[in-house]
């Protein structure tokens, strides 16, 4: 952790991510209004610093008079929950398959990697739309859709890294010591490919948030009236000239989250490499 906080880029990304998590967790307590209940008299009120704005709604209100700030805070919950779950599911499945493919080789590898090729060649939005239409928009479905589209990335990365690790003598020696394939994959391969996978996971956070926003924008994401950043942008689209704040604030939220997560991922790349860890002493 100390290594992470050493420079300002890391500091920035870490702060943004921490604030985001805090916002998501604390939303029910810090949001000034109910995110789904609107007051029609207050609708399309601009943010506080613009003519006609008031402190009652700091970031303004939407078409139905719902408070934008409250919706953003609750939206962070949705985005982060989708992110965490989808990446966890996709990461576990993809890594397990990728490591198995890389370590075992042979027909196991051939089958898994052909499926990965297939998964990567699928048109993302089309499949997501199809799935959304077939099974209806819901929180669970959006996690499943995104996991389905994401696992192949983890599988590819895990396989490539596993091939590198498998060529190392310590894997041969582990076999010479009597370890089974399963325990070698678990005890020797996974810890060595783990840091790359964690970095990939943080880099995927941005992708998932954009994916979730795109799906919500297209109407197959989290069902209304629950706020998601993507659907907020979608709803504000037709008012973008007269009421810019409807789209800009959720857009900025997506932008900063993705940026911070990507920067954090880059920092982790350096920090997780054990031979670069200085604070362990020697």
């Amino acid at each position: 952790m100390r290594g992470l906080l050493r420079n300002s880029v890391a500091m920035f990304s870490f702060t943004v991510v921490a604030m985001l998590i805090a916002a998501a967790v604390l939303a029910p307590w810090i949001a000034p209004y109910d995110p789904v209940a609107g007051v029609l008299q207050d609708r399309l009120s601009p943010p506080v610093w613009q003519a006609g704005g008031s402190w009652a709604h700091v970031l303004g209100t939407d078409v139905l008079g719902r408070d934008i700030l409250s919706r953003l805070l609750y939206g962070a919950r949705v985005s982060l929950a989708v992110c965490a779950l989808a990446i966890l599911v996709a990461g576990c499945i993809g890594s397990a398959l990728g490591i198995a493919a890389g370590y075992l080789g042979g027909w196991v590898e051939a089958v898994i990697m052909r499926v990965v090729d297939l998964a990567i060649s699928l048109p993302v939005i089309l499949i997501a739309l199809l799935f959304g239409v077939l099974f209806g928009p819901s929180f669970g479905n959006i996690v499943i859709i995104i996991s389905l589209l994401l696992w192949s990335q983890f599988a590819r990365m895990a396989r490539g890294e596993t091939l590198k690790v498998r060529a190392q003598d310590y894997v041969d020696l582990a076999r010479a010591a009597g370890c089974s394939s399963l325990s070698i994959m678990w005890r020797h391969v996974l810890p060595n490919v783990g840091s790359s996978l964690i970095v990939l996971a943080t880099l995927q956070v941005g992708t998932v948030i954009i994916m979730e926003a795109s799906l919500s924008f297209l109407g197959v994401g989290v069902p209304p009236p629950w706020p998601a950043w993507g659907s907020m942008i979608a709803e504000g689209r037709s008012y973008v000239v007269s009421a810019w704040w409807l789209c800009i604030f959720p857009g900025l939220a997506v932008l900063f989250t993705v940026l911070a997560m990507n920067l954090l991922g880059d920092e982790l790349t350096d920090t997780l490499n054990p031979s670069l860890r200085r604070d362990l002493g020697g």
Partner: protein, 327 residues
């Protein structure tokens, strides 16, 4: 004499490439007695490391269909053994040390954890005892202050120390046979000598056998009781270590010994053997060394040479072995 601990009979390891089976190891046979050290000497590409892996059936899966012969450990054939039984033997009865200590240790675990794994795999002791046993194992390979070193990561150690840790892992379960594949090649000379002495001392205490694979005759002289000289996948000569140095029967062995730089003879250039060993896919029908041999006759190029008994325990794969008088 008791039956040998390890008997290798006609071991062949092949690899299919472009529709052709290449024999990396081609019908080798040798014995290792309990407590004995056997050296396997050869140039790079002669099949030394493949032999080492085959002794524990660690050769890549792609070679399995083209592997034949027998590797008998206590009379049981390792090449035919069920996976579970073989796994129980690996690390417990037979252990291995490889050339590169940097690559032999897992960078993400402390050395202590890696030694403990050896105990864990074979369920040799209670979980709570493992750490103290790991410290004991480090002390055995003469690591100073093992209580502190046990929590070090591999990158915090020097090359020589790492190789000793690799040794500690291999010897953790007190195996009866240690296969050492060029364990000192990447160490500098003084550390090399220390490491070899360490292995010898441990062997003296525990009575284990060793198969020592090397290209270095200095190491052979220091460590081995008997030597097999490997050339292009075949054992061309096998003899007790003194005989190999004093009275080699095969011309290849002689040439190898001549190419070892000597202190007392001043040479302008180092002596080398002309030519290169034949590739596994382009070996002649006759003697594989014939094209480089200074004494090759017409027959050597056409007919495969016989294995000739020169003396007790001394044989050479040659039509016209060197006369012993020349020594």
């Amino acid at each position: 004499m008791n039956a040998p601990m390890l008997q290798v009979r006609n071991l062949t390891v092949g690899l299919k490439r472009h529709g052709q089976v290449l024999r990396l190891v081609d019908g080798i046979s040798f014995d290792v007695q309990a407590g004995e050290t056997l050296g396997i000497v050869g140039e790079s590409g002669s099949g030394k490391s493949t032999t080492a892996l085959a002794l524990m059936r660690l050769t890549p899966r792609s070679t399995w269909p083209h592997t034949s012969g027998q590797v008998l450990f206590d009379g049981h054939d390792i090449l035919l053994m069920e996976e579970d039984r073989l796994r129980a033997m690996r690390g417990r009865d037979i252990s291995m040390v490889l050339q590169d200590p940097m690559a032999s240790l897992n960078p993400v675990f402390t050395v202590g954890k890696q030694i403990e794994e050896a105990f864990a795999v074979h369920n040799l002791c209670a979980k709570a005892e493992r750490r103290s046993l790991a410290i004991e194992a480090l002390r055995r390979v003469r690591i100073a202050t093992p209580e502190q070193r046990v929590d070090d990561y591999p990158h915090q150690m020097s090359g020589g120390m790492k190789q000793r840790v690799v040794g500690a892992i291999a010897l953790a379960c007190q195996p009866r046979l240690l296969i050492a594949d060029e364990p000192t090649t990447s160490l500098d000379v003084t550390i090399q000598a220390q490491y070899l002495d360490l292995l010898k001392d441990i062997q003296r205490e525990s009575g284990m056998s060793m198969v020592f694979i090397t290209h270095d005759f200095g190491v052979v002289a220091r460590m081995c009781d008997r030597v097999c000289v490997l050339y292009a996948g075949q054992i061309v000569e096998s003899a007790p270590v003194r005989t190999i140095f004093k009275n080699p029967a095969h011309w290849y062995t002689r040439a190898l010994l001549d190419s070892v730089p000597q202190l007392h003879t001043k040479a302008e250039r180092l002596i080398s053997i002309a030519g290169t060993p034949p590739q596994a896919d382009s070996r002649s029908r006759g003697c594989r060394f014939a094209s480089r041999c200074t004494n090759a006759q017409a027959r050597c190029l056409i007919e495969p040479p016989p294995l000739q008994e020169i003396a007790a325990n001394h044989s050479a794969l040659c039509w016209y072995p060197r006369e012993s008088a020349t020594s």
